[in-house]
């Protein structure tokens, strides 16, 4: 019998937030896994659902309040226009690094074999239906079903 060597075989990533920095962290981790030949599945729950909502996915923002890495006073970060400005700046930098926009990134992940799942409970809470969501999602599932998909040796779960 072969002994398991500890290698990562599957990444199950849960995205619960909608700020751009969190969405990109989840996407890059999922896509990066596929690039290494590792399976990847993304579970969108709570505010994370905004990343796969047709109407919202291209309008996500960087958090300027409550984000110490912004290095600006919280009061300043709360001024109108600050989030938009920070977001524009970040998007420019990302384009330079060849990082795609949210919808294109979803398309790339779908084509790369990343499975995309929407959380059933959160969908109900926000009164969303499948028609509101990005067409490439695999379905609307419960936490239990998501865990089942993570079965097997070498699966890791990540909460963002």
């Amino acid at each position: 019998m072969n002994e398991f060597n500890g290698e990562v075989k599957k990444m199950m990533i849960i995205l619960s937030k909608a700020s751009l920095e969190n969405v990109y962290a989840a996407f890059i981790l999922a896509n990066g896994a596929r690039m290494e030949g590792i399976e990847a599945e993304l579970f969108f729950t709570f505010f994370g659902l905004e990343a796969i909502q047709k109407k919202k996915l291209e309008h996500l923002h960087v958090a300027t309040v409550g984000n110490p890495a912004m290095h600006i006073p919280t009061l300043l970060g709360s001024l109108p226009g600050m989030e938009a400005m920070a977001t524009t700046m970040m998007k420019k930098e990302m384009e330079k690094l060849d990082i795609p926009g949210v919808e294109e990134f979803l398309d790339i992940m779908k084509a790369s074999g990343v499975k995309l799942w929407a959380c059933k409970l959160a969908m109900e809470m926000f009164h969303l239906t499948k028609e509101d969501m990005y067409d490439g999602i695999g379905g609307i599932i419960t936490v239990g079903e998501f865990y089942k998909k993570g079965a097997g040796v070498g699966t890791h779960m990540l909460f963002i």
């Binding site: 890059i28 896509n31 990066g32 690094l97 060849d98 990082i99 790339i108 084509a111 074999g113």
Partner: protein, 103 residues
Amino acid sequence: MEKMIAGKNIQVNEEGYLTDFSQWDKSVAHEIAHHEGIGELTPHHWKIIDYLQDQHKQEIPLSIRKIGKSGVVDIEQFYSLFPQGPLKKATKIAGIPKPASCI
């Protein structure tokens, strides 16, 4: 380090990527492809290998996104032609360095 590939002593790094492209030829590509579980290289595989080598020559960094826009192959086909990490495997077969890209 040196590795015997297709009957020749080839310079490779610890991950098996060629360190001297002048040692690359089609027989080397075939043997690496076989070793990586890709099997027989089809004309479509070769088109992609040519494209990757050409980009490398022009010193353009490789990414999945760029390959998807190249017109040579779409992302889904790229994953099915080179399963289990297409960019990693295709560059190894093409005799060029492993891309340091995360996207």
